[in-house]
């Protein structure tokens, strides 16, 4: 309220979260038409085909993994955590931006979140699905993954609750479930819209089934809004806890480069950083292809760029503190870890990381850069790569040099490491393609709400 009042004083339309002359009807039609139109656009088929091909690569490499075991990857002692853990942390971090946008920005009453929260939440779900694959594939005997579940087994064994890996299992499982709830609850009124607007009998039945008979009653809305707000309040500490626990997988151990107290906040900031980069990577092509520039406006891109810049600076602080503590601790192994990170066998990764996570994003200080869509897209891609490199350095470089020179070793990813990783990118993209074809990628009822609120302020 206060914010838009300020905008009125400035007489600026740039700050409006919605551009153009929309009515409740036209904004509904515009978003639902993307889903309900009869013909699937040709470029959708093309994009989905590429993604599907990569899903086949994933199935192929997972199939071969089940046949031959984890020996097909480059992992060995001492680097027993290779790409699988790097990818796990990378994917789960990406998911965090979706929850941040939908929950934290909701609690902070940031209205601009409305047109990006739906697909950001979908991105969270799909990223968590990709993340969840890796620890299971990494098990060596993936058929026994259910040993993590505390259930009364005939063996009489129970899981070890003092292990961060157990915490991780609970955190990721809770995160996936709560994200799914949050997403589905947000979808219910829109599913009802699609039910009432669908022409084909099958679509009407399918959307009607999922909408569960939603009819927009004022009593229902009251409980709905309260439940949604409470879910947001629950999801906010949850998202912080998930990446904190992921970081504890490392920080609780004694490996130099892992045993660091700065890890939890620095991991959470990194997760937000990479997640926003991924939201931009998805949003920029989507709005261009589906002509959604009125709904996902320059202001959204600008704000997301600012969040990226801010979280990127927290990440930079994390890198700085890691280096400082390595020196200040006076610990031989810590000091060697840092020198090895920067100038050792994998040193080029470290400098590439500094370039892509710290140097390049400084361009975002400039308004002209934040308003140049192609530049923003490139920077987002660079940050995606940078954040992947960060996890590679934490996992692989730390393990390759531990306390005894006799147990040093290097890690070189194999073809199967790459095939599995690229396969999950395909899975992520394929799920996104299915999502934008079948469900509204922008929350329709929240756009109507936004319209009503901005109308009220102008009159």
């Amino acid at each position: 309220m206060a914010q838009s009042g300020k905008n009125l004083k400035h007489g600026s339309t740039r700050q409006q979260p919605l551009v153009g002359d929309y009515t409740f009807g036209s904004v509904t039609d515009k978003i639902s038409a993307i889903v309900l139109r009869g013909r699937t656009p040709r470029n959708w088929y093309f994009g989905f085909a590429v993604a599907f091909l990569l899903v086949m690569v994933l199935l192929w490499s997972v199939g071969y993994l089940f046949l031959r075991g984890v020996g097909i990857w480059g992992i060995n002692m001492p680097v027993a955590w290779g790409f699988a853990i790097v990818n796990f942390v990378w994917w789960i971090g990406i998911g965090h931006a979706g929850t941040l946008i939908s929950a934290i920005l909701l609690l902070l009453r940031q209205q601009w979140r409305t047109s990006i929260n739906r697909f950001a939440e979908a991105m969270t779900l799909f990223a968590v699905a990709c993340a969840g694959l890796f620890p299971l594939l990494h098990l060596g005997r993936p058929e026994y993954f259910y040993y993590l579940v505390p259930y009364p087994a005939t063996t009489g064994m129970w899981p070890q609750f003092r292990s961060p890996l157990m915490w991780d299992f609970f955190a990721v499982a809770t995160y996936a479930t709560v994200s799914l709830f949050f997403w589905y609850v947000g979808l219910i009124p829109d599913l009802a819209t699609l039910r009432d607007r669908a022409k084909r009998r099958f679509s009407r039945i399918a959307y009607g089934f999922l909408a569960m008979g939603w009819r927009g009653s004022a009593r229902h809305w009251q409980r709905y809004q309260r439940a949604y707000l409470l879910l947001a309040g629950l999801a906010t500490p949850l998202v912080v806890s998930v990446h904190t626990i992921v970081s504890l997988d490392f920080a609780v151990s004694i490996i130099p480069g892992w045993h660091t107290t700065v890890f939890p906040p620095y991991f959470v900031a990194g997760a937000i950083y990479s997640g926003f980069a991924m939201v931009l990577t998805i949003a920029i092509p989507l709005r261009a292809v589906y002509g959604l520039q009125d709904l996902v406006t320059a202001r959204h891109l600008d704000n997301m760029a600012k969040v990226m810049l801010a979280s990127g600076l927290v990440v930079a602080y994390g890198y700085l503190i890691e280096a400082f503590i390595a020196w200040y601790s006076g610990n031989l192994f810590e000091r060697y870890m840092m020198l090895n990170r920067a100038f050792g066998e994998y040193g080029w990764c470290y400098w590439l990381l500094i370039a892509s996570n710290i140097v390049v994003p400084q361009l975002l200080w400039f308004r002209s850069v934040r308003h140049s869509v192609p530049l923003l897209f490139v920077i987002a891609l660079v940050i995606n790569v940078g954040m992947w490199l960060e996890r590679f350095i934490i996992v692989v470089v730390s393990l390759s040099r531990d306390f005894l020179p006799s147990s040093w070793g290097l890690y070189v990813p194999t073809f199967w490491d790459w095939a599995t990783f690229i396969g999950t990118i395909g899975l992520f993209a394929a799920l996104l393609f299915v999502f934008i074809r079948l469900l509204p990628m922008i929350s329709i009822f929240e756009m109507r709400e936004l319209l009503e609120e901005s109308k009220g302020e102008h009159s």
Partner: protein, 178 residues
């Protein structure tokens, strides 16, 4: 007699403000069994129809407490009673280590109660409702603002109720078959 086959009268309003205003007047006229329908939540509408308290926060609180207690007890039982592991004489009930999982189960059960509680209190899923028989009601999920007075209301009286709705600002009034 016609009332016996009716579920109620459905009135359409022009915009959100008219609906809130209309709902307030219907309530002031003494009606209680009526509901408003809109394509998005409208501030003040629930108050206007006399629905001010929801038990949602209590439901979520109960869920959270159950999750917290159950999560901690599970870990306590596993680590102290069912499968005690003596690691250098450290305490079996090592509570700081049990906090992360307790936190996760708290959030999980609270969220479960929040979603299922919201649906249960709303009486959803409910695939069919008499209102869906009115063709115009499909706009309630697009750009239509409706108010429905049920025949079950003690004050319901066919034409008089219809007149009240028109006076309250309805643009059109529909019969809802039972």
């Amino acid at each position: 007699m016609a009332d016996a086959q009716l579920y109620g009268l459905l009135a359409e309003f022009r915009d959100p403000e008219a609906l809130v205003d209309g709902a307030r007047r219907v309530r002031e006229a003494g009606y209680r069994r009526f509901d408003a329908f809109s394509p998005m939540p409208i501030e003040g509408l629930a108050e206007a129809i006399g629905f001010t308290r929801t038990r949602m926060p209590l439901v979520v609180l109960i869920g959270g407490l159950i999750g917290a207690v159950a999560g901690y007890l599970l870990q306590y039982w596993v680590s102290v009673i069912a499968y005690p592991l003596n690691v250098g004489g450290r305490p079996l009930n090592s509570w700081p280590y049990f906090i992360p999982v307790t936190f996760e189960t708290t959030v999980l059960v609270a969220a479960l109660f929040g979603v299922l509680g919201m649906l249960a209190l709303n009486g959803l899923p409910r695939p069919h409702h008499p209102l869906f028989a009115v063709e115009q009601f499909a706009h309630a999920t697009r750009d239509g603002f409706f108010l429905c007075i049920e025949t079950a209301d003690a004050r319901f009286a066919g034409d008089e109720t219809r007149r009240l709705l028109v006076e309250a600002g309805a643009t059109e009034v529909f019969d809802v078959p039972a």
